[in-house]
């Protein structure tokens, strides 16, 4: 033992002591994993240093290795009393990844390999997309946690291939209810509204300062997220095709660029291995500095285009240990830790190695470019320091002032983690129809306003307008849409036309998403199918080709050691496989965040499972994109798709307080047909406006189209195609069935439009009028509604004005 390292006794410990050691040192390694480590060092006939033990803990962590999704799972499905057992040896490989592999799309450049998924854009460029979560830190420090969340995913895009230029950000949040009573918030936790405001500000300040427009997102409020907010941050970037791959050669130098290293993020919020006193540093939460990251972005793209480095990756979870460890996996690497630039004195070697200090990128630089690359960074005040070299002995060797503090085989580090085996179980729940809902015109009108004002439907413009969604000047389909500049409605998807980066192009990139934890409370398979289709529908509405989309999956789930929770996760991945194959669109990247639960009063609560599906596609002609606001008086309104009796998990069910009903299902064949034909219609310039039905049902969507366009609608609700004759009018209007689009078509084009849709289920249900009212009548139900669009817009805008 020296002043730099501690030797940790492990080879003579018994099982109980191994578990205790993992706990004390906050390694989060299971007994099986600890025994694997013990075996390795027993073979070496020595005990590990603290640096070595921390390195293994980081590399083998759930976050870095996705042990659950790639481990052994024995899954039991119980349907109608019958049990069906499936054994997975790698859930991810056998579901999501399998679909992508089987589809083998030629336009996928790099999937599930690098820091982001990359697909073709045009002959010279690809586009990359990554979505990450940063949940736990955001619960502790909402502003800092979420800021570093977006900072981290931006670095993923900087670290894909040889570096992509970020073009857009997305953000999706799940928070507790903002009107929770202060007395109901557990001790030591922040109030949900404070978390929400902090998170919005954190992502805003970081994204705005980086000059990347935040263009797409969602917010979902539910008491289940009170203690465990979810913060999904995504970044999309563009990258030259010849810069999509990295290569590390033995002899290349290790260069760390950007921020300095401190104790940020070590072991999360608990800091049990160091004595805390007034003088010692307490920073366990990462603090971000977007200007440093912007400087790195500006300079590294210059270095990329001058071919000054051969590989790059970002320092994220696990800090240098992950970044350098990954780059050096095939070659081996030696690092001199005393060379790493520090924020302050006193860091031990292991702290330097696993610190999660922000804004750092690691490069593999050919020695002949050593001076040139340093000069380039120095010119714009970006710190860049060589800290080591890639070798050829396939070992990870760390030194501190010439003393070896770690010496391990890369193979053990990367492939040595034992696979956990878990059990999962799912039992089918039977649903029953809700009691029929019958209300009069007055109540129905109020219900419409209440649904528009619902926290999960209402306008998010208070949030959206704090994010610069126009910077770079490339956002042509914006998150809020409308005719005149004051009025607006919610956009389904956003379109980025990269005219400043790719000269003379007509192509554009569409980004959309789908999330709805409400459905998951009943069945995560159906939830997954719905949100995948929702992401696709949203993209199709603005003009995307449903056959050319790519998907990202981001799972936020509870504790996978609980069989029911793991079972619901398995259901979701099965749906991912099925949908991906059925629609023939691949998943190109994904992430998971598990163990989102909290304990209070001896009980543990897991979050409602939340799967975020993000979609990205390339649009061939940016001129053939469509917004959702109504455009022309006199044009016809079509509702394409069939409305089923599917109100379970709906906003209406929440407002009317009933728990029965059927969760929306998905008729994949119909869905495919409809989306294909809608896309054709848009390409043929037959569509004036298009909006899909989701939360709040048909009536919410058509109201949004009306007030965004400052035009009225006159609708005969009896013309809506339904599958269940027993449905009452409110059930029809608020059902959240999938695969439905509201399309505005001019009179002149209506025949052509109907011809295109002849094999689909659709109905012409009304027309656009100049009087500013939503007129809806049903002679069957003897209901007549006339509501001024201003009142509807006001209801929609009032709720989230903080």
């Amino acid at each position: 033992m020296t002043q730099n390292v501690k030797i940790i006794e492990i080879i003579n410990l018994d099982d109980k002591q191994l578990v205790e050691l993992s706990k004390t040192n906050v390694l989060s390694l299971s007994l099986v994993e600890m025994k694997e480590v013990q075996k390795y060092f027993k073979n070496l006939k020595r005990n590990p240093t603290d640096v070595e033990l921390e390195t293994v803990a980081q590399t083998w962590s759930e976050h870095c290795k996705h042990k659950t999704l790639t481990g052994n799972i024995e899954y039991t499905e119980i349907k109608q009393g019958k049990k069906n057992i499936t054994k997975y040896s790698n859930l991810l490989k056998e579901t999501i990844f399998k679909a992508t592999k089987e589809l083998d799309k030629p336009w996928c450049i790099s999937v599930f390999k690098d820091n982001a998924g990359v697909i073709d854009f045009d002959d010279k460029n690809g586009v990359a997309f990554k979505v990450e979560t940063h949940n736990h830190p955001s619960a502790l420090e909402p502003y800092g946690g979420s800021a570093t969340g977006i900072g981290g995913v931006i670095r993923d895009i900087l670290g894909v291939g040889l570096g992509a230029k970020p073009l857009a950000n997305t953000d999706v949040f799940c928070f507790g209810l903002p009107d929770t009573k202060y007395s109901d918030v557990p001790e030591g936790m922040h109030h949900p509204k404070r978390i929400a405001k902090g998170v919005v500000s954190g992502v805003r300040d970081y994204g705005n300062r980086m000059g990347i427009p935040t263009v797409n997102g969602a917010v979902f409020f539910d008491e289940g997220y009170m203690a465990n907010p979810l913060v999904y941050c995504g970044t999309m970037g563009i990258i030259p095709k010849d810069k999509c791959f990295k290569k590390v050669n033995s002899g290349d130098l290790v260069l760390v660029v950007g921020g300095r290293t401190g104790r940020d993020g070590i072991h999360g919020a608990t800091f049990s291995s160091v004595e805390l006193d007034k003088e010692s540093d307490v920073s366990a939460v990462q603090i971000g500095n977007p200007i440093v990251e912007k400087k790195v972005l500006d300079t590294m793209l210059k270095a990329r285009d001058l071919n000054l480095y051969r590989a790059v990756t970002d320092c994220g979870a696990g800090g240098l240990s992950s970044a350098v460890g990954e780059l050096g996996e095939k070659t081996g690497v030696v690092v001199e830790l005393e060379k790493v630039p520090l924020k302050y004195e006193g860091l031990k070697p292991w702290e330097i190695w696993i610190s999660e200090a922000q804004e750092r990128m690691v490069f593999a630089v050919p020695p002949e470019h050593k001076n040139e690359i340093l000069k380039l960074f120095e010119k714009e005040n970006v710190e860049a320091t060589f800290i080591g070299q890639f070798t050829d002995d396939k070992k990870l060797v760390l030194k501190y002032n010439n003393e070896i503090v770690a010496d391990m085989d890369m193979e053990f580090l990367h492939d040595g983690v034992p696979k956990p085996t878990r059990t999962a179980v799912w039992e089918e729940k039977k649903s029953v129809r809700q009691k029929k809902i019958d209300v009069d015109s007055g109540v129905l009108t109020q219900d419409i306003k209440n649904v528009l004002a619902d926290i999960n439907v209402c306008s998010r413009d208070w949030i959206i307008r704090q994010y610069d969604h126009e910077v770079q000047g490339q956002t042509v389909i914006k998150p809020l849409q409308g005719n005149s500049i004051v009025n607006s409605g919610p956009s389904d998807a956003s379109v980025i036309w990269p005219c400043a980066v790719v000269k003379n192009t007509d192509k554009a990139i569409v980004l959309s998403n789908g999330i709805n934890p409400e459905y998951g409370k009943t069945d995560t398979y159906k939830m997954t199918a719905s949100v995948i289709e929702e992401a696709m529908r949203n993209a199709v509405c603005v003009g995307a080709d449903p056959e050319k989309l790519s998907l990202l999956d981001n799972f936020c789930w509870g504790n996978p050691n609980k069989p029911e929770i793991l079972g619901s996760l398995v259901r979701a991945t099965q749906a991912c496989y099925d949908m991906s194959k059925e629609y023939s669109i691949p998943f190109i990247s994904g992430k998971d965040s598990l163990y989102n639960e909290y304990s209070i009063g001896g009980k543990t609560f897991s979050i409602p499972p939340a799967l975020l599906v993000s979609a990205m596609g390339v649009i061939e002609d940016v001129n053939k994109t469509v917004t959702m606001n109504l455009k022309k008086e006199g044009s016809f309104i079509y509702l394409v798709g069939v409305t089923n009796n599917e109100l379970a998990g709906s906003v209406y069910a929440k407002i009317k307080n009933f728990a029965e009903g059927f969760v929306p299902d998905l008729n994949k064949k119909e869905s495919k047909k409809i989306m294909k034909q809608i896309h054709k219609a848009i390409l043929d310039n037959l569509v004036l406006a298009c909006h899909d039905c989701s939360e709040g049902g048909f009536i919410t969507a058509v109201s949004e189209m009306a007030f965004a366009g400052e035009l009225g609608v006159d609708i005969d609700a009896d013309l809506i195609k339904i599958s269940d004759d027993t449905m009452s009018l409110p059930e029809i209007l608020f059902s959240e069935s999938n695969s439905r689009f509201i399309v505005e078509v001019s009179r002149e084009n209506s025949n052509k439009f109907e011809d295109l849709l002849k094999d689909c289920c659709y109905s012409k249900i009304g027309k656009v009028i100049s009087e500013p009212y939503v007129l809806l009548s049903s002679s069957k139900s003897k209901i007549k509604i006339k509501e001024n669009i201003k009142n509807l817009q006001e209801a929609w805008q009032k709720t989230l004005q903080w």
Binding site: P142, G144, H191, S283, A284, V285, I287, I291, Y344
Partner: protein, 155 residues
């Protein structure tokens, strides 16, 4: 020597930050506070002379159109005077202060070459008939300071 420069909005100019702070206090259900004033505070730790500190305050830290500054000076924190009915929030030792790095650079750009350490903080002064230490604690913990990375002082 430690210099503290507090920046206040001049009378006659509105400060939208103060308005929204007062609103947040009301939403928390705390009564008795009639108004609140927010001051960004810069702490300069250096052997620099007083005149230069004035230059920094005047030319760099204050917007001469809408703001004015006050400087207090002390050697140790025991000497420091704190206003009544106030909350001060500072980052805990070891937490990165991103603004301070910018201020240090800007001081150099002014042509001042002395060694300086800069820390940035926030001061809130409250006025009202019903202000108590308990209420100030609630406000501080409720939304002014995150005790994970910040510490606050109440008077």
């Amino acid at each position: 020597m430690i210099y503290e420069i507090a920046i206040r909005t001049k009378k006659g100019f509105s400060n939208s930050h103060n308005v929204s702070l007062l609103n947040d206090i009301k939403i928390m259900g705390i009564d008795g506070v009639e108004n609140v004033e927010y001051f960004p505070v810069y702490r300069i730790i250096s052997d620099i002379d007083d005149k230069k500190v004035s230059v920094i305050a005047n030319e760099l830290l204050t917007d001469r159109i809408t703001e004015e500054f006050s400087i207090s000076k002390y050697k140790t924190s025991e000497e420091k005077e704190t206003e009544k009915n106030s909350i001060e929030v500072w980052l805990k030792h070891g937490v990165t202060d991103t603004v301070s790095e910018s201020v240090v650079k800007a001081i150099k750009d002014l042509g001042i070459t002395d060694n300086v350490i800069v820390k940035t903080g926030h001061k809130y002064c409250f006025n009202g008939s019903g202000i108590t230490v308990e209420k100030l604690n609630k406000i501080a913990k409720g939304f002014l300071a995150n005790t994970l990375i910040q510490e606050y002082k109440i008077r």
